[in-house]
Symmetry: C2
Subunit: 240 residues, 2 copies
């Protein structure tokens, strides 16, 4: 059975404005790889309703699994939940189970569950809540879309609670070799190897540092014996 | 005149597999912001022809400017140039001007311009070359699509040579204030401010660190006087 194919939608302009560097994408990519889920596409869009809805429709139709991050807080630019509802054709409103979680959390921490915070209890009908052990406000799963917070610590906790429920495939294994030779000298032999080992993927990642140049060749596949066999061939070809 | 809207397409599976963290997106976002170009969307796709061509068609139709990074080297998985030609409906082949640049470079460095390296001279008809001062193999501009290398040092050099040719808008200015208060308490006043200063954008970026939580509020706009005015209001509201 082929591995499930996943996409991620990052919502918000922190990354698009250059203010911050991505962290959630890198985390999710690593977790998916370990579980045999192929992260096949990532999109980053700003807090614009049309952009979010359009991306959600496209990705939820094209991929087995979609994970979103960002835009589920209490501020005016947090519109992800409403956009997911629109994209998936589900009604949305303040849901009692989510409201109860927030009410208990804010009572315990001595804060008011005001109108802004109550926005975080807006959950589409039919969605399953995702636990948020960090700051209470839940994410949710609707169809194949898993809606998570953008704050990295919360995102990571939500990924941890959703991952066991997702059926992955054989974990993707990778091995790499560093070759201090121009990519143009590597390309010919590498193409022949890629044609021979069609069940593996061969990536070539050039580097230029400290006056040296070359490439890291990464072999990926689910069968450890095949990955080993390809690495032996690579060693024969390039370790001279 | 509104600022031009741009998109970036990152090609290759280094980021999708979790092997590396993005650097080019962060660099481009910062450069665009300085020049008054709004980076409105980023997509990351793997080395699959259909995914690359589909993304190129969608982005080049929807945005004023598209920048791609990755997939223009000599190896078998470097298919960006051919995909751009297909998406834009242009013929492609080894072009004499690009071949001459490579021939001179490899003669000078004592390497062979072999079949793999010659792939890097495949440039669509009608494209303008983008200089590569690091490793010679050029990028190119075709229509509103600027095709650049994925190696960060080369990508940055190519961005530097293309940016002066792109007409930007008024540079986007930003100021921020750190508020050690829950986002739920910030959200109400912030929404009122956002409705008053409709020419500015207000972002709220929550943090939880070292036991503290709160949010950084970022005000963005092109008019320095308006950004200052909004910051004074924010200080009055939250600096207590």
């Amino acid at each position: 059975m082929p591995n499930p194919r996943a996409a991620m939608l990052v919502i918000g302009d922190e990354i698009l404005s250059g203010r911050t560097r991505d962290a959630n994408m890198h985390f999710l990519a690593g977790e998916f790889t370990k579980r045999g889920i192929d992260l096949a596409e990532v999109r980053i869009v700003s807090d614009e309703r049309a952009a979010i809805v359009g991306a959600l429709k496209a990705l939820s139709a094209a991929f087995d699994i979609v994970v979103t991050s960002g835009g589920i807080g209490p501020t005016h630019d947090d519109i992800t939940a409403d956009c997911v509802a629109e994209a998936m054709g589900a009604p949305i409103g303040v849901r009692e189970d989510a409201r109860a979680i927030l009410a208990e959390h804010y009572e315990r921490t001595g804060k008011e569950l005001n109108e802004a915070r109550l926005r975080m209890a807006r959950i589409p009908d039919g969605a399953t809540l995702i636990e948020n052990p960090v700051s209470a406000a839940p994410g949710f799963t609707l169809g194949n879309v898993h809606v998570m917070a953008g704050v990295p610590s919360v995102f990571q906790a939500m990924v941890a609670s959703v991952l066991p429920k997702i059926t992955g495939g054989a974990p993707m294994l990778s091995q790499s070799i560093r070759v201090e030779r121009g990519e143009g000298d590597i390309a010919g032999p590498l193409r022949i190897l890629a044609e021979e080992f069609t069940d593996l993927s061969f990536g070539s990642y050039p580097f230029y540092d400290a006056g040296l140049h070359g490439a890291n060749i990464v072999v990926r596949g689910t069968d450890p014996g095949r990955v080993d066999a390809a690495m032996m061939r690579l060693n024969d070809l390039f370790a001279a």
